[in-house]
């Protein structure tokens, strides 16, 4: 019985004449969805599986389908005769395009058998000469298949072998997903044996030495494994020593190693190929010359056996010498190997004729962490979940390892400059902070954002499109924009006849959701402002958190943004003034030390309303007031004239006077939230939550903590800051509930917008669902601004009560979850595009259609 080995991800090409039993074979060994047959494709494009005129289109479809499956990483089997070299060439090309291995399985069945089978099929009309011709072609090229590019060729001779064959899958060489570490991934060593030994010791490895005292192995602590990113050799003082140690570790199962371009070149040199003796290979050859022939043979064998890259830890970690883009991970082809060893170039050359490196890491969006070396940098810097560990030890830098999954860097300095760098090491790769790392593909179109709290959340295309315009034209630098606030749902419509909203429903909602304690916070009627402030004032060198943590070096020290991410103030100077005041207050309140941070993200309301909403006041609210005042005044005047003439207009007159009163109340309602400001004069900031600081998302802490902390901030600068009045209410305590209700009536009676009721513990779940993080309960006078001057008229109120809150509640929750997601990602130092994805999604959702009055 023949066992045919097939790589788990490959393009299996069946080769055999008509009637050789390919479809039967495919059906026996593969899933129906894995098999693409040319007959089936011919049927799809022509409604007739035997319509030969449809063959070109049928194969175009077949190649297209195969390509999609391979791109998605799915084994694919081609069921077509494939006896002509041209047909196979096209399939090899498809396999190469997706960097999978092509495999040929040839069904070499006697012509007689094929002919007999064919005659049993009434739909087949081809004559016997066709099979004869196909068989001739098959036999002519049979021995050439490997040369055509097939990595494996299995030929089954005769019916019996075909029937008895079985398939055995083999893993790709680079597939080490079953190894879960933990790992110590070590950067380019370049012959620096002493530093390597020190590094291993500082990582807790125990060196094993031979009788000559040479390190031949290192035993890792506990279950750890070392992983070398390649370029063990060249330039340094002891290439043989490094090789001896690493080969020993690999052979003992204590280490994995991927090849670097220098190993590749060294093997060629050692095997007698002509290479240019540049970039430190001469040193290696000289050092190896002193070793016995046996050692050199061992080196050649070792280097030849290295696999271009490894996929480790269930697919979460990829190690390759020059890094590896996502599409190449776990794949096998010449260009994958070339990318892994040398990286990719743009096709351009620089002024010295050297190829320009393609900035693959900047575009990297894969979920696997990629660790690599190849390009020496002063300091390792994360770029989209990738990290270069080559810190130029041989050039006098250091030898660096990353502990995985801890993400801890361990480094030992070079003992000396072993090899003069042709130019000084460049500073750390700045790409992680590059403004350019955001790509249209990160945000545009219909998107699914994975969140910790609610799983996948969908953003529709039209909403992304709207958000893109605002984000691009109006928003602040995305590096500053690590959060956007969610919208908030109002309380359910009151059961009372005379108001739309009342606290009773808020308390009822949370009690029903199992929340025992809520906090009622006065709702400041201003505009939402998110304040991100860094500890270091402009111009101060110390720490310079703006540059260090946010990568912003234009001199700004934070941002104050509106709920769509736009700068709150037109003037950068006013923004910096405000940030300076917040910074000073945070200094005084000792927040930096207490939270162990040099930046703070605060959720606030900025007052007065007129400071930002002047355009809207002018265009809408005050305009309605002006029109109503003049319009109703004139109407009342002519009605009074008519009444004096004895016309029966008494009822109309009463009605219009009532309307005028409502219009006056409307004007008074918005007027309370307006006062003149100039620069920061008159501006008040009411912070109500510390969203996050270094290393910690605070948004899910209880509100007692937030308000206590913020009270200290407010006390430090009572002119700027406005504290938030609040009541903590135990929902089981009727007296407390009644007191809070009375407080709301008092607040709203005095012109306040109303209050927000939040679960005291902030993030609360009810079963698998998340309870609204807060509901707003607005006062009757304030609501005139929203529902119109005359909304309290009973006939109006009766109609307005039929409002539906479902969409708004859903939106509020989704935005809340996305906002938290953005914070979590930022605090976890995830790449900018990951943070931006969540922030952008909040903005996009905000453009969903929801009743704007809610």
């Amino acid at each position: 019985m023949r066992t045919l080995t097939v790589p788990e991800l490959s393009l299996v090409v069946l080769v055999g004449t008509t009637g050789s039993g390919k479809s039967t074979f495919a059906g026996r060994h593969f899933l129906p969805t894995q098999v693409i047959s040319s007959d089936w494709c011919r049927g799809l494009v022509s409604d007739d599986e035997n319509d030969q005129s449809a063959t070109p289109d049928a194969f175009a479809l077949l190649h297209h389908l195969a390509g999609i499956r391979l791109r998605r990483g799915l084994l694919t089997v081609i069921d077509a005769t494939n006896v002509q070299p041209k047909a196979r060439e096209a399939l090899v090309k498809v396999a190469r395009e997706y960097d999978v291995l092509p495999v040929a399985i040839v069904l070499d069945v006697p012509e007689q058998v094929c002919r007999e089978r064919n005659e049993l099929r009434p739909d087949r009309v081809m004559g016997p000469h066709v099979i004869a011709r196909q068989r001739r072609e098959l036999r002519t090229h049979l021995r050439n298949l490997e040369r055509e590019g097939f990595r494996k060729v299995h030929v089954l001779h005769g019916v019996e072998e075909v029937e008895e064959a079985s398939i055995a899958y083999e893993k790709a060489y680079n597939d080490k997903r079953e190894l879960t570490g933990p790992f110590d991934v070590i950067g380019d060593v370049h012959g620096c044996r002493a530093e390597l030994e020190s590094l291993l010791v500082s990582l807790g490895y125990v060196l094993v030495r031979d009788e000559a005292g040479r390190a031949v192995d290192a035993v890792p602590p506990a279950t750890r494994t070392a992983v070398f990113v390649g370029d063990l050799v060249d330039r340094g003082p002891d290439t043989p020593g490094v090789l001896r140690l690493v080969m020993g570790m690999v052979e003992a199962g204590h280490a994995l190693c991927v090849p670097g371009n220098h190993e590749n070149k060294l093997v060629r040199a050692l095997t007698g190929r002509k290479v240019q003796l540049r970039h430190g290979i001469a040193e290696s050859l000289e050092q190896l010359e002193r070793e016995p022939e046996e050692f050199r043979k061992r080196v050649i064998e070792f280097c030849r056996g290295l696999i271009s890259h490894y996929v480790l830890d269930g697919g979460s970690l990829v190690v390759a010498h020059a890094g590896l883009k996502e599409a190449y991970q776990g794949r096998a082809s010449g260009r994958v190997r070339s990318f892994a060893l040398y990286g990719e170039t743009t096709g351009e050359t620089d002024e010295y004729g050297l190829p320009v490196r393609y900035p693959w890491a900047e575009e990297y969006r894969g979920s696997a962490m990629v660790l690599y070396g190849h390009t020496p940098v002063l300091e390792p810097a994360w770029v989209n979940n990738t990290l270069c560990l080559d810190t130029g030890c041989v050039f006098g830098g250091s030898l660096t390892a990353l502990r995985y999954p801890e993400r801890e860097l361990v480094a030992v300095p070079a003992e000396q400059v072993w090899y003069e760098p042709v130019r000084p090491l460049e500073p750390a790769a700045r790409a992680g902070r590059d403004p350019g790392v955001l790509d249209l593909g990160d945000v545009l179109g219909r998107r699914t954002v994975q969140t910790r709290l609610m799983g996948d959340l969908v953003v529709q295309e039209e909403n992304s499109a709207a958000a893109l315009e605002v984000m691009s034209r109006f928003a602040v630098d995305p590096r500053w924009l690590v959060y956007l606030p969610p919208t908030m749902a109002p309380v359910a419509t009151s059961s009372r006849e005379d108001v739309l909203e009342h606290p009773v429903e808020a308390f009822g909602y949370f009690a029903a959701a199992g929340v025992g304690r809520v906090v009622c916070e006065e709702k400041h009627m201003g505009s939402r402002a998110v304040v991100l402030v860094t500890k270091d004032a402009a111009g101060s060198e110390v720490g310079a958190a703006a540059a260090r943590r946010f990568g912003v070096t234009d001199g700004s020290t934070g941002v104050v943004v509106t709920r769509t991410g736009r700068p709150f103030f037109d003037s950068a100077a006013v923004t910096e003034d405000l940030l300076g005041r917040v910074r000073t207050a945070a200094d005084a309140a000792g927040l930096w030390e207490e939270l162990g941070t040099d930046w703070l993200l605060l959720d606030c309301e900025l007052l007065p309303w007129s400071a930002k909403a002047m355009g809207l006041l002018r265009d809408q609210y005050a305009a309605v007031g002006a029109a109503s005042r003049a319009g109703l005044g004139a109407t009342i005047a002519v009605l009074e004239q008519g009444a004096a003439r004895g016309l029966e207009v008494g009822e109309m007159l009463e009605e219009q006077r009532g309307r005028r009163e409502a219009a006056e109340s409307f004007t008074a309602a918005y007027g309370q939230y307006c006062w003149p400001t100039s620069g920061l004069d008159g501006v008040r900031l009411a912070p109500f939550q510390v969203l996050a600081a270094e290393g910690q998302v605070y948004a899910t802490r209880d509100h007692g903590w937030h308000l206590a902390l913020l009270d200290r901030l407010c006390a430090a600068d009572p002119v700027l800051f406005q504290a938030t009045a609040r009541r903590v209410v135990d929902l089981g305590d009727e007296a407390a509930v009644a007191e809070a209700t009375a407080w709301w009536e008092e607040l709203t009676g005095g012109g306040s917008e109303g209050m927000v009721v939040k679960p005291f513990d902030a993030l609360v779940r009810e079963g698998r669902r998340i309870v609204q993080p807060g509901v707003k309960c607005r006062g009757p006078e304030y609501l005139r601004i929203i529902y119109g001057p005359e909304y309290l008229e009973p006939r109006n109120l009766a109609r307005l009560r039929r409002r539906s809150l479902g969409r708004k509640q859903s939106l509020a929750l989704r935005e809340y979850v996305l906002g938290l997601e953005a914070l979590e990602r930022f605090v976890a130092r995830e790449p900018l595009y990951r943070v931006h994805e969540a922030v952008f999604a909040v903005l996009a959702l905000e453009s969903e259609p929801v009743d704007p009055r809610l």
Partner: protein
Amino acid sequence: MLVTITATRPAGAPWPATDLGYLLAKNPATVQSFSHGFGRSRVFYPEADEARCTAALYLEIDPIGLIKSRNLDSADFSLSQYVNDRPYAASSLLAGAIGQVFRTAIRGTSKERPQLAAAAMPLTLRLPVVSATAAFVERMFAPLGWTVTATPLTLDPAFPAWGESRYCDVTLTGEQRVCDALSQLYVLLPVLDGSKHYWIDGEEVEKLLRAGEAWLPGHPDRELITRRYLGRRPTLVRSALARLAESDEVPAAELDNAVPEEGDGVEEGVVAAEGTGNGSDGTSDNAVAVAEAQEPSPHTSLATLRHEAVVAALKDVGGKSVLDLGCGGGALLRHLLHDRYFTSIVGVDVSVRALQYAARKLRLERQPESVAARLTLKQGSLTYTDASLKGYDAAVLMEVIEHVDPPRLASLEHAVFGAARPEAVIVTTPNVEYNVRYETLEAGRLRHRDHRFEWSREEFAAWAEDVAAQYAYTVGFRPVGEVDPEVGAPTQMAVFRRGDGKITGPTNAGRAEADRGSQSTQPTQSPKSTQSPKSESSERSAKSEKEAN
């Protein structure tokens, strides 16, 4: 909302003023009630004697009912559609009520007083709240023989600093036939109405135009009147962008302003004449349209010169496949599309509405396939990289960079010069030095409200040379428009061409091939023009030459 019509009997006239009741076919002694689809109106006479008679039409609309009766999802409306001036300000709704209540009077027929109906008499019309500037009311009614008194209303007496509102209290007096007075109100009220949220259907429009037959042809602004009627198709459904503006409590136009709204008349320069309705500051969004309209060289507009200069520059650099980045309404695309030299054209804009506008203006769906196939319109943003923009001969940033906040320029540079990396890049931007030549432009003000900056020639050259050095391009400069010896040309242009130098910009910093032993340093070549000496030396003024170095 209210309108009153007062007839005054001239001395010695044989008829009493109360005959107005016959002409209007409404009895001065009673209060009459009418119901309309959008509300209820009353007609009564606050005064009615032999010398003076005033009829009042009072229309009460129900904004809540108006929306509910449309049976649209309330989420589609903006707040301003719920809370607005409709119940108070004269609008198309009042016109509709006039049309219904005074149907016979508008026809000019009267059973009882046929001669009086056909004669002009001293009339006074009062509209206490009209949403238009005084000047525009004057412009509409004065040519028809009215004496116009229009007094702006204070926005809010509690906040005197806020100034005046967009409303006027309007009184019209004149010798007119009653039927003309009514039909003029009937047609012109909706024209005056600056707001975009009124409800009127297409049939009504036809009727309104028919009503103007007697006087509209003689009105100097008949085209504007017609266009504002037909062109103004109110958008009832909030766009997603408008919803964002609303959530941020700013007027929708503050965010949704990438292209002029059709029917706004901005393109025709109407805004300049009538104001934007924004009230006190008289700011036009498009100061540039106004300012540039009165160019020193009146024959060719600066916009046209700019298009020609860009096309010429594209041909100089051999740019056959072209990206128009920030294509807006497609003005340049039109030039490119009509020139077979350009084989592949991509218009990119961040505004979906701009792209729709461009597609409509270019009549893409009606172009033959061979033409349409050369053009692609796609949404994109210059602060995000986009792989689909790679591989083009040239990119144009025509009057685009000045719309980008300075802190975001680095992203634009990276996306265009670093990532898309076309062979050539053409950038135009205003020359701020030239602004002093625009008489209507206040000193220190920029040409357009959305401009985040405008640069002098020196500033532009410094920026361009820095970008060229960072991204391995060479750059040359050309003036666009007539060159003023003192302040230069109104528009400045930089032509970048890709060199073979090494990128030192943020893209590749720290990731170059140290390991290949390169002797890399900063590029040493000084940026120099790659233009042919002929075009450069003739186009480039001595001053810009000096500044460039």
